[in-house]
């Protein structure tokens, strides 16, 4: 369930307008009209974006208040922790590949030969 939630959050935040909306809601709650004001797109289009954010659990809208302001869910911060961990794992995987490349340089060739190979590669 947590993974599915995360997937929907990633998908929702793949759009730059929705990332901008989340960024602004992180500062303060706002109504759809207030959120739509700075954009060249319609209030309806902003509403659609908000619906995607709502479905992803990133934003809630109070049902009773007349203004129905949009509110960024506090546990988005927990998502951020999860994102940093995922980003860290991806970076770690990349550097494990670099470990393997560096190990192959050590075993396959002495520094002079590696340098020559590098120059060949740069020249071609």
């Amino acid at each position: 369930m947590a993974g599915d939630r995360l997937s929907r959050a990633f998908a929702a935040l793949a759009d730059p307008t929705r990332r901008d909306l989340v960024g602004r809601l992180a500062v303060a709650d706002a109504t759809v009209n207030e959120l739509a004001a700075p954009y060249d797109i319609s209030v309806q289009a902003v509403s659609k974006h908000l619906k995607v954010l709502e479905d992803a659990g990133l934003v809630t809208r109070s049902r009773d208040a007349q203004r129905r302001p949009c509110h960024l869910q506090a546990d988005v911060l927990d998502l951020m922790t999860a994102w940093i961990e995922r980003y860290r794992r991806e970076t770690e995987e990349r550097y494990q590949r670099l470990d393997a490349v560096l190990a192959s340089l050590d075993s396959d060739s002495d520094p002079a030969a590696t340098e020559a190979a590098h120059e060949d590669g740069a020249a071609s």
Binding site: A11, L13, G23, I84, Y87, E93, Y95, A103
Partner: protein, 161 residues
């Protein structure tokens, strides 16, 4: 795997600054780690995610040079990245810009510093600076490479549902 478990990647995302800092140790001398960053044949062996094929379109790792590379996914979709080498100073410093062409307004300034720990070991410091905390969070949330690709695929699924 043994060296990888010993050398953990550390990520620091300062809450109010549009910065990501990465630190990682390597059992190789500074010159070798530097070489793995400026030799395109070596770079393609580790930089891109495993499930994507990396093609180097342009690569001039010198001060004032430029680069562009493309990741192709299993579905054939291409994702290109480009930037300039602001400074390439052997053996321990590379400063470059980085833009994902799918998000052309975004650019990060990436500083790579290689610290000689002695005994043939190196500590890599990578700092990425962007123009807002929101963009920084997006980079972390999306991974900028595999994450962006998967993110857009999932967005497509979501929108077609």
């Amino acid at each position: 795997m043994t060296s990888a478990t010993r050398h953990e990647t550390r990520i620091e995302a300062v809450p109010d600054q549009p910065v990501v800092r990465i630190t990682r140790d390597f059992d190789a001398p500074v010159e070798r780690v530097f070489q793995a960053h400026v030799d395109p044949d070596l770079l393609t062996r580790w930089l891109g995610p495993r499930n994507l094929v990396m093609r180097v379109d342009r690569f001039e790792p010198v001060t004032g040079g430029a680069y562009r590379y493309t990741h192709t996914g299993p579905d054939g979709q291409e994702h290109a990245f480009f930037g300039s080498f602001h400074e390439v100073r052997a053996p321990g410093r590379i400063v470059q810009t980085f833009t994902y062409e799918g998000f052309p307004d975004g650019v990060s300034l990436d500083l790579l510093e290689l610290e000689d720990l002695g005994d043939g070991r190196t500590r890599l410091h990578a700092t990425s600076v962007v123009d807002s905390v929101e963009v920084r969070d997006m980079i972390i949330a999306s991974g900028m490479e595999s994450g962006v690709v998967q993110g857009y695929e999932k967005l497509d699924e979501l929108l077609s549902a």
